[in-house]
């Protein structure tokens, strides 16, 4: 355990946010006195064990009293890992005759164009467990062939004989008419007792491959996640923690464990989503609605875009090459982190990553046996990281080992160690700049109209450099930069996203028809949110639609705010269409106002605010004294810079580079000529132009 400070007063009503990563478990405790954060090693073989051990130690050390915990939320990669490692349950598929290979053929494309050794991941459900039945619906949802009950009973016997642990049911056009899928559910339930997942429940939307994949992922993870959640609940109630665990979903809202385990497909991006959510909260507090977020840790860098206070969302995500078409925060990941290894390729270019030294052995400067040169080693030899302060839970850094490692790059290039280190950072920054371009300029957004919010252990070290490369005028670093994901768990809403394919031109639709569909979605939402103990009055509804010009095959999601409450008028429909034209023009450079607009899908997001107001962001604790150190910013040689413990910054204090603003969780590098301020919450803002 590496507490940010010693802490003895126990104050009641504590909310706990826990982000379980591959290397560390970040834990934030929030109460009326502020935020405290802790890092513990994670236990990837059984993630819940590490979490329980962490809580037990906090209780043992009297930092926490179990009965004071009023809320406990976590972000977890448990579902993602199970999917990536193939640790899913033995699952069967029942589908329309002639289509059992849809799940395997996919969209018939390969993931690497030029790799003759390319592979396609094994389908989650093997061919011998994919069963066909004679039912068929047409493109209007009308029955072409009835569902023969005897076939399903026969299949049920075979499923039982094969010992399947979960079943997915996907029929063509079931998003228009779920009757056949529901009949299968009833027929199977007569014969077996395993979780059965219907595509018309998980994703009532067109495109059979994406719906099949999403349903198969969901079905196959249910037994895994049920088991995980049960262990977590049993063990935490064993140490006296009463509230039900919440978990972060990929869409940036939390939900109770009970709900989550029914549709684990919604928690696949649980970890990264929490970080962006934390960034959004900081943006709200800074009244900065347009943010590019950059979360750089040990092995990778996640970038995302927040526009007008809203996190970019996608329904075309994939996890381990499996499409998962539920709504999720849009996050772009590249293999650049503090542990990324520098090397010289056969063409003589200096490269950084994607290989990483990971947590074990880690960068050479960790002194755990690593000898390969990494980004963190480069920072260490340049004086960006202070050897005598802790980093990522280490008591100190070994700068001699870092120098030795960087020497292995410097020697073949015949440059000094520092020049090699600067080169490594330059190359790493170039890769990150490209990642930010992907989510901004390539999507039609100008980075100059955004602020860069950097977090994660290594994000603040690179923030100013990345901002300058992209002419981003402002950099924002939260007080809890290294553990922002854990904090995001406490500030996000409780909620769910619902959707339904419509696929009809707007000219064919009226407000009554749309309200009927929306009410269907709303009823399900009310049911699920009531089960979360949420009062109906506090529920917010956000309506949007996926619209496109008829004949196009890509959609734009457009928000609609009805003129009166949750009631759509025909005028609102016109506004909707006009907003689509405008959004199309803004994103794609042209609009066709005389073309028919098609309503592809209706979406409803229902949320309730978190159970308490924003926590105080400022990190508590006594600060170390400031001192002067020597730091390399460019090849001109080391210059004197102030080393400042971030906790010592005062409200409105002016910050001037050159400076190194360090903390136990993350270090911010402020080059010469860069200025900024710190606010009451400890958030730092730097101007970069």
């Amino acid at each position: 355990m590496f507490p940010s400070q010693s802490y003895t007063d126990v104050i009641v009503a504590k909310a706990i946010g826990i982000d379980i990563g591959g290397t560390f478990i970040d834990l934030v405790i929030s109460d009326s006195s502020g935020l405290r954060f802790y890092k513990f090693p994670s236990t990837p073989d059984a993630p819940e064990r590490g979490v329980l051990q962490a809580l037990e130690r906090l209780i043992e050390h009297d930092v926490l009293k179990a009965s004071d915990v009023s809320r406990i939320a976590h972000g977890s990669t448990v579902a993602t890992n199970a999917l990536l490692e193939g640790a899913w349950a033995k699952t069967a598929l029942i589908t329309t005759r002639g289509f059992r290979d849809v799940l395997e053929i996919g969209r018939q494309d390969r993931s690497h164009l030029y790799d003759l050794n390319v592979e396609r991941p094994d389908p989650i459900i093997p061919r011998d467990l994919r069963f066909e039945t004679s039912e068929r619906l047409d493109a209007a949802g009308q029955v072409v062939r009835n569902l023969p009950a005897f076939e399903i009973r026969e299949i049920a016997d075979r499923l039982a004989a094969a010992g399947v642990e979960a079943v997915a049911v996907v029929f063509l056009f079931s998003y228009l008419n779920p009757e056949h899928e529901r009949s299968v559910l009833d027929l199977l339930r007569e014969k077996m007792d395993v979780p059965i997942t219907l595509s018309s429940d998980v994703l009532p939307e067109f495109r059979e491959y994406e719906r099949s994949s999403t349903t198969a992922v969901c079905a196959s993870l249910r037994p895994v996640i049920e088991c995980y959640m049960k262990n977590l609940a049993d063990q935490s109630s064993g140490i006296g923690i009463v509230p039900e665990w919440q978990i972060m979903q990929s869409n940036g809202t939390v939900i109770s464990a009970t709900q989550a385990q029914k549709e684990p497909v919604r928690i696949l991006l649980s970890g990264p989503a929490a970080g962006v959510q934390g960034a959004k909260t900081i943006g709200q507090m800074k009244e900065t609605p347009n943010l590019i977020t950059m979360d750089m840790g040990g092995t990778s860098c996640d970038v995302a875009l927040i526009r007008n206070g809203e996190i970019g969302q996608t329904t075309t995500g994939t996890v381990g090459e499996h499409p998962v078409a539920v709504r999720m925060n849009e996050i772009h990941t590249i293999g650049a982190g503090g542990g990324s290894i520098a090397w010289i390729d056969p063409g003589g270019a200096l490269r950084v990553g994607p290989k990483s030294a990971g947590a074990v052995p880690g960068p050479a400067c960790y002194g755990r046996g690593g000898t390969l040169p990494t980004v963190s080693d480069a920072h260490t030899v340049l004086g960006h990281l202070l050897p005598d302060t802790s980093l990522g839970g280490l008591p100190s850094l070994d700068s001699d080992k870092a120098r030795d490692a960087i020497q292995s790059i410097a020697a073949p290039l015949t440059v000094s160690i520092e020049e090699a280190a600067l080169g490594i950072l330059d190359v790493a920054d170039a890769a990150m700049e490209r990642a930010v371009r992907v989510i901004s300029v390539e999507r039609g957004y100008d980075p100059r109209q955004f602020s860069l919010l950097a977090f994660g252990g290594a994000g603040p070290l690179h923030a100013v450099s990345i901002a300058q490369r992209l002419s981003i005028p402002r950099v924002i670093i939260p007080a809890v930069a290294g553990v922002l994901s854990a904090m995001g768990l406490l500030t996000c809403e409780v909620g769910r996203d619902y959707g339904r394919s419509i696929l009809r031109p707007m000219s064919d639709l009226n407000s009554e028809l749309i309200m009927k569909q929306l009410s269907g979605l709303e009823n399900r939402g009310l049911q699920e949110l009531r089960a979360e103990g949420i009062e109906e009055e506090s529920i917010q509804r956000e309506i949007s639609a996926d619209l496109r010009y008829q004949g196009q095959s890509h959609e734009l999601n457009v928000r609609l705010t009805p003129s009166s409450g949750f009631e759509i008028s025909s005028q609102d429909l016109d506004i909707w269409v006009e907003s689509f034209h405008r959004e199309h023009e803004a994103r794609f450079g042209h609009a066709s106002r005389n073309e028919d607009v098609e309503l592809v899908a209706l979406r409803l997001r229902m949320t309730a605010p978190p159970a308490f107001s924003h926590p105080r962001m400022k990190v508590a604790g006594a600060a170390d004294e400031r001192r002067e150190i020597l730091v390399w910013f460019d090849s001109g040689g080391p210059i004197a810079a102030q080393a400042i413990d971030r906790r010592s910054l005062l409200e409105n204090e002016r910050i001037s580079g050159p400076a190194v603003l360090w903390g136990a969780d993350a270090t911010l590098l402020v080059p010469p000529g860069i200025e900024g301020t710190c606010d009451a919450m400890g958030t730092i803002q730097l101007e970069t132009t």
């Binding site: 002639g98 289509f99 059992r100 290979d101 849809v102 395997e104 053929i105 969209r107 018939q108 494309d109 390969r110 690497h112 164009l113 030029y114 790799d115 003759l116 050794n117 390319v118 396609r120 093997p126 061919r127 011998d128 047409d138 493109a139 072409v144 063509l172 056009f173 067109f206 495109r207 059979e208 994406e210 390729d345 056969p346 063409g347 003589g348 270019a349 200096l350 490269r351 290039l413 440059v415 020049e419 330059d426 190359v427 170039a430 890769a431 700049e433 490209r434 371009r437 992907v438 300029v441 390539e442 999507r443 039609g444 696929l503 095959s553 890509h554 994103r587 794609f588 450079g589 042209h590």
Partner: protein, 544 residues
């Protein structure tokens, strides 16, 4: 490392290489984003590239391999046709006999100026859904000269000093079936060029003109070094390989394609002498297509991670006899050269390379894109419809693993249309979309399975054009592996099946079913060496 780069280069090289590659990426993203037609927007049949002032390609962003390395020919043609460029000029072309590949691919080339000095070029290419000619979609399978295939555009300045030449534009739009859509896509291509020009200018201001010029040269040298390093690791020697196309769509008889590959130190010679003369039907390839397919094969065989640019191709010397099917002359029709012949060129080059380095070799993939176009009147709304699809098939087996079942290979990678989208938009019912058990060539490692897609016509009638191959000649197996199974095109009317040829057009009546069954991939190694577990799994999963 054949030569040691200087020390600053190692770092600046990687930083500027990234910066220039980001520019071609951004151009291409912009092109996809602002285009009108599904073919560019969804299937991403387009690419963008940055060139130095001499017309050497420095970076390319391509979404499908068939554009790989073909654009330098366009830039060369543009430079050759314009005596003196001015800022704001954009050259447009599609003529396969003057820098193009086939008529639907229209290429834009624009100079980048700093003050009055030309420092670079940017270019982009997109596959347009129609450029005129005898059939909608400009992909007719029975043409005998290029004049039937659509509008030929030699390198012309469609924009001169930033001004659009409207008379030329009207001439183009008057010769295509969907002028509004064409203009939308052409504008997207222009916008992508503008993005490229802006970004290159900004980069030049940031790092300085001489640094940028040096960096572009250094990037070319870098890719060249990496390619030479890779070739140097291949065994010295030469190997020949021959394969055939089923037919040319208008006459009988197989069409041989022959290659001899020679590894000479850190260079490769690829010689197509002995290949068939150009043919009457539309399966002729111009040299740029042959180069593209050859580059694909070598890149895939060596190191796919080498940044694709002109430097990368310096150690590769291609000889293709003039007037042959791999270097066709006017007025041969060429639309299928890009689609089907390019696949066979890859098959022979990989076949020859595989003889030299069997540990990296692979059996033939399905060897066809299975192009299918269906048109008619939708009874639900009385409107004309046209569906264009390509279909995956079996991937060839590799030295350590089976080929993939039901997937696109080599020169294409475009997505299928979902069944639910297809039936919603077209009067067709998909009866099945499934793997074809038993079609993978057997061996120690099995070739991938083909795909079968059956569609029933729900319109009164519909015209179906198909441009396919490997219907009478098998994808080869290697090292003792069996060949992959043939593909089949079949029409069923009132329960009676009629087999179709590999290329042609038929009319379907209401209730008729067309079945496109794609070829399997070839096997690797003798089947006696196949592991029992693999056989058991195939039996259990009904793949044999």
């Amino acid at each position: 490392m054949s030569q040691k780069p200087n020390r600053i280069d190692a770092i600046t090289l990687e930083v500027l290489r990234n910066a220039i590659a980001a520019i071609s990426d951004e151009m291409n993203a912009n092109l996809v984003r602002t285009s009108y037609s599904p073919n560019i927007k969804e299937r991403r049949d387009c690419s963008s590239a940055v060139f130095d002032a001499f017309g050497r390609m420095v970076a390319q962003a391509e979404s499908i391999p068939v554009h790989l390395g073909a654009m330098p020919y366009s830039v060369e043609a543009a430079i050759g046709s314009v005596s003196s460029f001015s800022p704001g000029d954009i050259v447009v072309l599609n003529d396969p006999y003057a820098g193009g590949a086939h008529l639907p691919d229209i290429t834009f080339v624009a100079p980048v100026f700093i003050e009055d000095r030309l420092i670079a070029f940017v270019a982009d290419r997109a596959h347009h859904a129609d450029v005129g000619g005898k059939e909608p979609g400009s992909l007719a399978g029975d043409t005998v000269e290029i004049y039937q295939e659509g509008l030929r555009i030699p390198p012309i300045r469609l924009w001169e000093q930033g001004i659009l030449k409207d008379d030329l534009l009207q001439l183009i739009l008057a010769n295509v079936r969907t002028p509004d859509e064409r203009w939308g896509d052409l504008r997207a291509q222009q916008a992508a060029c503008t993005t490229g020009i802006d970004r290159m200018s900004a980069l030049c201001l940031r790092v300085g003109e001489s640094m940028l010029t040096n960096a572009m040269s250094a990037v070319l040298d870098y890719s060249e070094r990496r390619m030479r390093h890779q070739i140097g690791q291949l065994p010295q020697g030469e190997a020949s390989f021959e394969d055939v196309l089923d037919d040319d769509g208008v006459s009988e008889g197989t069409i041989p394609i022959r290659v001899c590959v020679r590894i000479r130190g850190d260079r490769i010679e690829v010689d197509f002498s002995g290949t068939s003369k150009q043919v009457r039907g539309p399966v002729n390839a111009v040299f740029a297509v042959t180069a593209s397919a050859t580059y694909f094969a070598i890149r895939a065989f060596t190191d796919p991670e080498i940044p694709p640019n002109s430097g990368c191709y310096r150690p590769i010397e291609i000889t293709a006899p003039e007037g042959s099917i791999v270097n066709a002359c006017l007025p041969a029709p060429v639309v299928g050269g890009n689609l089907e012949t390019s696949q066979r060129i890859v098959d022979v080059v990989l076949g020859a390379l595989g003889k030299l380095a069997p540990e990296r070799s692979m059996a033939a993939c399905q060897g066809s894109m299975n192009n299918l176009a269906i048109g008619g009147i939708d009874p639900r709304n009385g409107k004309l419809f046209t569906l264009y699809e390509t279909m995956g098939g079996g991937f060839g087996a590799r030295p350590t693993k089976d080929g993939i079942d039901g997937i696109h290979s080599h020169m294409t990678n475009t997505l299928n249309t979902p069944v639910e989208a297809l039936e919603t938009s077209y009067p067709l019912r998909v009866e099945r979309y499934e793997l074809r058990p038993g079609t993978g060539g057997e061996g120690q490692y099995r070739g991938g399975l083909g795909i079968r897609r059956d569609m029933t016509c729900l319109a009164e009638s519909a015209r179906v054009s198909f441009l396919t191959d490997r219907r009478s000649t098998h994808p080869y197996g290697i090292e003792g592996g069996d060949p992959g199974a043939l593909g089949k095109n079949v029409v069923t009317r009132n329960g009676e099946e009629t087999a179709l040829s590999s290329k042609g057009t038929v009319t379907l009546q209401y209730g008729d079913t067309i079945s496109i069954q794609t070829p399997g991939g070839g096997g690797f190694g003798p089947r006696s060496r196949r592991e029992k577990a693999a056989i058991d799994r195939d039996l259990r999963e009904d793949r044999l």
